[in-house]
């Protein structure tokens, strides 16, 4: 094999490898889309976000491509995607994401992260669903202040199915769940109710 042919094969292999790495959906919650919301009305807190638990029944995939039955997966672990989204939302609302000791601890379980694909005649409907529960703990006392559950669902019909649309649908479902969290008075009250350094223990 000539050196030139070998170089070509190595380049091709690298390109294929790159594509294979990108074959999982790059679902994420973009920081640019996050706003200061109701959660920003609370005095700034130091918030520890514990590693998110993946409590889904099926953790190997987030759906199936109807065309060939192959699994739809995410580029990064689902728990990391949700944890990162939480960190973006908390930071955007003026709080500091930190390790212990903190004033607020968030313990999160992802319950569902799924994309349904319904084939029509000349169209495809995607339904993305993100469901998770968050327990707000007092960082100083360890007391449970609230447990809240959020479900973001996005439905979209397109003429041509593609992984890009699938990703956008999951992005939107994730964003809806985060916005519901940032505007939830009960979640905000839990943030407000933690014991701060100035408060008597």
């Amino acid at each position: 094999m000539s050196a030139r042919r070998l170089a070509l094969l190595v380049t091709l292999a690298a390109m294929l490898g790159g594509c294979a790495g990108a074959s999982g959906l790059a679902v994420r919650y973009p920081e640019a889309g996050a706003n200061r919301a109701l959660l920003a009305s609370v005095t700034s807190r130091r918030v520890e976000i514990r590693p998110v638990a993946d409590a889904r029944l099926d953790t190997t995939r987030i759906g199936t491509r109807p065309k060939d039955g192959t699994n739809i997966v995410t580029e990064r672990p689902v728990a990391d995607i949700v944890g990162e989204a939480l960190a973006v939302e908390v930071a955007k609302n003026g709080h500091t994401v930190a390790v212990a000791p903190s004033e607020v601890v968030l313990a999160t379980d992802v319950e569902e992260f799924w994309l349904d694909t319904v084939r029509g005649y000349g169209s495809t409907q995607y339904v993305g669903k993100v469901a998770f529960s968050v327990t707000v703990l007092d960082g100083r006392t360890g007391d449970r202040l609230a447990t809240r559950r959020y479900v973001g669902i996005k439905r979209r019909q397109v003429d041509t199915a593609s992984d890009d649309v699938a990703r956008e649908v999951m992005d939107a479902a994730l964003a809806r769940s985060m916005r519901d969290l940032a505007t939830d008075p009960a979640f905000v009250n839990a943030f407000a109710g933690v014991t701060t350094a100035a408060a008597p223990r």
Partner: protein, 225 residues
């Protein structure tokens, strides 16, 4: 290959909305008609027509006709199902359900001094004391097929729209269209057999739609700040 890789690039985020956190007194007004529908997005019989036409001479010429027949048959089937299931939700006003949940969620957020729900467009002094008016509509609601299987699973849905218009200038400072789907999924028979359950399910999804819209409004209030 390169194209395949490039297509996975995330689309850039939309520009931040114009903030409207000076809006304190609002009225929520419902507008437009609502249609109850059962949307199944079926592949049949169009898929079978395509297979048959694939073998037939001049089959491609008949494809538009096959498309029309497919749409016609599904329209008839969906109309019939909408009629049957729609009977279970007679008397339920989607606009009222969505607007009540919307107004209650806004009030609970404590981001507005006053949230009114007049029965019609406010006039005179009532209108002058408002900062803005939210116009809300529910063009379509009903059941949608969300999962293929045996049996297929359906969920309640409500497609809702809202815009926040500043009183006096008429400028729209916030607009939103939301496709809201209930998290629960059930076979069509569950909805057809049990009117009471269907009413509750639909009321749940309409409430969810009002809450979702309100959350988006609260979320957008300080956008860009």
């Amino acid at each position: 290959m390169l194209w395949g890789c490039a297509s996975s690039t995330p689309t850039p985020p939309r520009p931040a909305a114009r903030p409207f956190d000076n809006v304190k007194r609002i009225a929520v007004v419902v507008s437009g008609d609502s249609r109850f529908a059962v949307l199944e997005h079926r592949a049949q019989p169009g898929k079978t027509f395509d297979e048959v036409l694939g073998w037939a001479p001049f089959g491609s010429l008949l494809k538009p006709f096959a498309m029309l027949v497919h749409e016609g048959i599904n329209w008839l089937v969906e109309s019939d199902r909408s009629k049957t299931t729609g009977r279970h939700v007679e008397g339920l006003s989607p606009q009222a359900a969505v607007s009540i949940a919307f107004a209650e969620t806004l009030a609970a957020s404590q981001q507005f001094q006053e949230v009114q729900m007049p029965e019609r467009e406010p006039v005179g002094e009532e209108r002058r004391r408002l900062d803005a008016i939210v116009r809300l509509s529910v063009p379509t609601w009903g059941l949608v097929r969300v999962r293929e299987g045996d049996p297929d699973l359906l969920s309640g849905f409500a497609d809702v729209r809202a815009e926040l218009v500043v009183r006096g200038t008429g400028a729209a400072v916030w607009e939103r269209r939301e496709d809201v789907t209930d998290p629960e999924r059930l076979p069509l028979t569950a909805f057809k057999k049990d009117p009471e359950f269907t009413r509750h399910h639909m009321l749940d999804v309409l409430t969810r739609a009002g809450q979702r819209l309100a959350n988006e409004l609260v979320y957008a209030r300080s956008a860009g700040r």
